[in-house]
Symmetry: C2
Subunit: 142 residues, 2 copies
């Protein structure tokens, strides 16, 4: 899993630094969660084994990881963006609860169907993992 990431870095002449390793590890350990840059930063400094890593480095690294396709970024309406390691078996879209902020993953089959309908109708090609659908989750809706 992480080996693939190292491979992708090398392929692009990007260096494997302790910071990048540490961030990758955090992303992997938190897979399934959606972390803010700040969260990653805190986890980095909490880990005694690591020397100080700057928040700017976290942002730079996330941008880089997004670019080489190992992380997906989820921009939120009213708070910081969240990041997650892309698991290649699962390129999901998200349902976001306006009340509690919970992220629910949208069923891939439903998404696929919808994307095709849009493509037919408007010739618009929906990007992968990009849909963010706001509303109320089953516990928060009245």
């Amino acid at each position: 899993m992480l080996n693939q990431a190292y491979h992708l870095l090398k392929e692009s002449n990007l260096r494997i630094t302790p910071q990048r390793k540490a961030i990758l590890e955090i992303l992997y350990n938190c897979r399934g969660h959606h972390l803010e840059a700040e969260n990653i930063y805190e986890l980095l400094t909490a880990t005694a084994s690591n020397k100080r890593v700057g928040l700017a480095t976290v942002y730079r690294t996330m941008e880089l990881f997004e670019k080489i396709g190992i992380v997906s970024k989820l921009s939120m309406e009213n708070s910081s963006a969240r990041y997650e390691l892309i698991m290649y078996d699962k390129l999901h879209h998200h349902l976001i609860c306006l009340k509690c902020g919970q992220l629910v993953e949208l069923d891939d089959r439903i998404a696929e169907e919808f994307k095709n309908r849009i493509l037919e109708d408007k010739g618009f090609e929906v990007a992968n993992k990009s849909m963010k659908i706001y509303g109320y989750c089953s516990s928060c809706k009245r």
Copy 2:
């Protein structure tokens, strides 16, 4: 159309100020477009007939208008939010082109169908006018 807005303001004990009138007029004249606060601000100062209106007032007014339901806010990934007057015959969702930034309106019937599928599947209730779907418009996709 705008009378209804005035009515809603009065109903909530909110005052009808020249600034609010001017902003409403701009929104109405630009209906169909999606304006940034900055755009509205520029249009306000361009109109010779109006005295200076602060950008903060534009933001405050948009927040207010959104709250009383006459404006819908569209938060963008990498730029300022855009606002538009809600036309009650048309509560649409949006397709946003990642390349050129163009906003395309999503067909209501397709949206409705999709919302129902999500509700069935996850019990998640999609909010009105809230879907922002990123991808590539017919001219930008390769």
